[in-house]
């Protein structure tokens, strides 16, 4: 038996692997982000913050995780 390879995903243009059965809330926590300060787009669709705990990460998902920075 091989080890669980997990799911291959893209986060902000970087390849990452996450374990089977990881929710978006878990993925954000694993990166070390405060979910209250970010917004998440998954395969070009907004993921409402209220559903972070329910939405599971799927193989091949492409995520954009953004926040506010200084700007004019």
């Amino acid at each position: 038996m091989t080890q669980d390879p997990g799911k291959g995903v893209m986060i902000n243009g970087e390849h990452r692997r996450v374990a089977e059965g990881t929710s978006i809330a878990q993925m954000i926590a694993d990166i070390g982000l405060d979910p209250a300060k970010v917004a998440v787009e998954r395969n070009l669709e907004i993921v409402p913050r209220s559903t972070f705990g329910e939405v599971m990460v799927e193989d091949g998902d492409e995520f954009e995780i953004v926040h506010f920075v200084g700007g004019g």
Binding site: A39, I46, P48, H67, V69, G72
Partner: protein, 256 residues
């Protein structure tokens, strides 16, 4: 005497909106904001740094509960990019009030009005309240208003140029024709430029570089606050008529 303005149902006392880019650090940015008296700050939406998420962030220094964050679409060159950015911004912050800017080219950062109008329509249909950066064109401003812009924000001069209000005639025409607030966005360099914008009857002024790139940003922020207030009072007071020649202020009668 209280003076306030209202955009999309939100009322503000300060008529100065300041950006949060180009500052030396967050401390200086927060100090300049304090000195400016602004109640709204513009912010950009960018990818988080997934490699180093522990870095300090803007919210640690400027509290979005105390100051209204106005998310922008800086760096977007198409309607689709701008709409995508603002959908994320709404989710990140929970606000419908946003600043739309769709740029036409990097050299001038002039707005692409075709894409801007397209984005304004879509955003308004989705429940956003877009305050829209635009050319200083009275017809374009009207079209934006018809498309759902809650404020029109013509440029005074190119973004970051500090050249001052280049076309007072068109800014005044926009003010006269608009039913929504008009704010000069971009081009202010010195406090006198902000006063000019307000004397033309604008509801407010938005600036970033003029404060952030001043030698003393905190002092310039204060100057801008005073200039906006002075310009507003000057507009409301109603200026004297212009004459072609002199008119003495002291009486001619009783001269020795």
């Amino acid at each position: 005497m209280t003076d306030s303005w209202t955009v999309a149902g939100h009322t503000f006392r300060s008529r100065l909106i300041v950006g949060t880019g180009k500052y030396k650090d967050f401390e200086q940015n927060a100090a300049a904001l304090e000195a400016s008296g602004a109640e709204i700050v513009t912010v950009a939406v960018r990818r988080v740094n997934v490699s180093d998420p522990s870095k300090p962030v803007l919210q640690d220094y400027i509290d979005p509960k105390k100051v209204t964050y106005l998310p922008n679409t800086a760096g977007c060159f198409t309607a689709d990019e701008a709409i995508r950015t603002l959908r994320l911004a709404r989710e990140a912050g929970g606000w419908d009030l946003v600043k739309l800017e769709v740029l036409g080219e990097a050299k001038t950062l002039y707005p692409d009005m075709r894409e801007t109008l397209k984005a304004t329509e879509v955003l308004a249909k989705e429940g956003f309240k877009p305050m829209v950066y635009c050319v200083d064109d009275p017809i374009a401003a009207k079209q934006l208003e018809e498309s759902g812009a809650v404020a029109v924000m013509p440029l005074g001069a190119p973004i970051g140029s500090g050249l001052g209000i280049q076309n007072r005639v068109t800014i005044r025409l926009i003010v006269e024709g608009a039913k929504v607030p008009v704010l000069v966005d971009a081009g202010v360099g010195a406090a006198s430029d902000a006063a000019v914008a307000m004397e033309l009857g604008c509801d407010g002024v938005l600036m970033n570089t003029a404060i952030a790139e001043a030698k003393d940003p905190v002092r310039m922020a204060r100057a801008m606050k005073l200039a906006v207030e002075a310009g507003r009072d000057s507009y409301l007071a109603g200026r004297m008529a212009k004459r072609r020649y002199a008119d003495p202020s002291s009486p001619l009668a009783g001269l020795i």
